[in-house]
Subunit: 216 residues, 2 copies
DNA sequence: CCGCTGGCGTACCGTACGGTACGGTTCTAG
DNA sequence: CTAGAACCGTACCGTACGGTACGCCAGCGG
């Protein structure tokens, strides 16, 4: 019952990772209709093993989400020599990574699962996704923004506000529409426009927070 | 089995509305742990009646979501005489309404339910929420934006892009964090800042799309 | 007063699924 | 070769819940 909280570098054996992969696949395919029996069959393992390793269904779900979420690694941009061009490229890269991740099928599935979970006062999954999603972005983006400000390339009072504006400009209504299953947003449809959207968002961000207003 | 699709003005009797209210209350309280038995008990009606009226569980859920979603009515702003001040007030009002709705407990619950539903290729609820949420905003906002453009108060190529930017600037990361159950966002916490956020978003929107850049 | 319809309450059924038990098999250690 | 651990496969149990059946009462037209 007291499932060992997998804090951070919980190392899963390859076999366990295979199980988690199977679980994730099932999650992506069948939505939250994830069955212990189904996972066991897909992973060619016994249910007893599942319970031995992960405690219960929630434990398996948590491990899966956590394990996958931790794999999303935003590239760290170096903020050593910051000129205008480098800053812009960094921001743009952030926007690109953010959009690419959010649009991905895995991300949509994970977010849906976490939201579902949060709808039953079991907020553990929600917190994990939150931590590895928006908050991770924030942690990584803020230093860059502040470096930009120190270099007089950006202008803002609160880096928190700047980050949230950035998030809004990039994500817009895409994520919620994907979560709600908007058929008008096909994968290919979005991916084709990612570059344009990234550029637009970056332009807008600099228009709002650039030290000198640039009317692109 | 063929649940009659409640297209639009499906008039529910007062008794039925009471049932739907009960269902909505349970949804808000217990998340998606909505049980037919629980609804019947709460509404003091029999399960048989529920099935007679709504067909099955999904039918009840759909009716509830649809009925509630339809109650969210954005005030229509008159776009007869558009000066800069009136336009700004309209936009601001939109931002305020949008944020207020999105932040509300009912909205969070409905969106969570719809997302959960969408996670099981049953996208009906997702479509309903989508239709009455983001898309409703879009339908109502676009004419105003275009009127603003025609009056040379706004400048943009695509009203679609302008709408989406507006959405992003207003909503930012608030909705997804609420859906994921972020404890740092308490109801009161947000509501206290709504006015400031609304003003900031409006300022930013006009900075990006105003005919003349105003450096507020 | 009689019968009928609508709806309440409850008991009931079937099933799906979380969780457990157990026999059989492979692998490793000594 | 033997003992034991790990694990697979499967059968099994308990329960929760969607959905149905039925008995009962209230209101109402005749």
């Amino acid at each position: 019952m007291p499932v060992t909280i997998k804090v951070n570098e919980e190392t899963f054996t390859p076999r366990q990772q295979a199980v988690l992969t199977a679980a994730l696949d099932l999650l992506v395919e069948n939505g939250d209709g994830l069955t212990m029996t189904a996972v066991a069959r897909r992973a060619s393992c016994s249910k007893e093993t599942l319970y031995k390793w992960f405690g219960d269904r929630d434990g398996l779900l948590t491990a899966t989400v956590q394990w996958q979420a931790a794999k999303v690694r935003m590239p760290v941009v170096d903020r050593s020599h910051l000129n205008a061009k480098a800053l812009r490229l960094s921001i743009e890269q952030f926007a690109r990574d953010l959009l690419t991740v959010i649009v991905g099928e895995v991300s949509v599935t994970l977010n849906r699962t976490a939201v579902t979970h949060a709808a039953q006062e079991k907020d553990s999954l929600g917190l994990i996704v939150l931590e590895n999603g928006p908050l991770a972005i924030r942690r990584r983006l803020k230093p860059i923004l502040e470096a930009g400000r120190d270099a007089r390339l950006l202008r803002f009072d609160s880096s928190e506000d700047a980050y949230r504006t950035f998030f809004g400009l990039v994500v817009r209504d895409v994520q919620i529409r994907l979560l709600l299953g908007d058929k008008a947003l096909t994968q290919s449809n979005i991916e084709a426009n990612i570059e344009a959207d990234v550029k637009a968002a970056t332009d807008q961000f600099f228009a709002l927070y650039g030290a000198k207003a640039n009317n692109a």
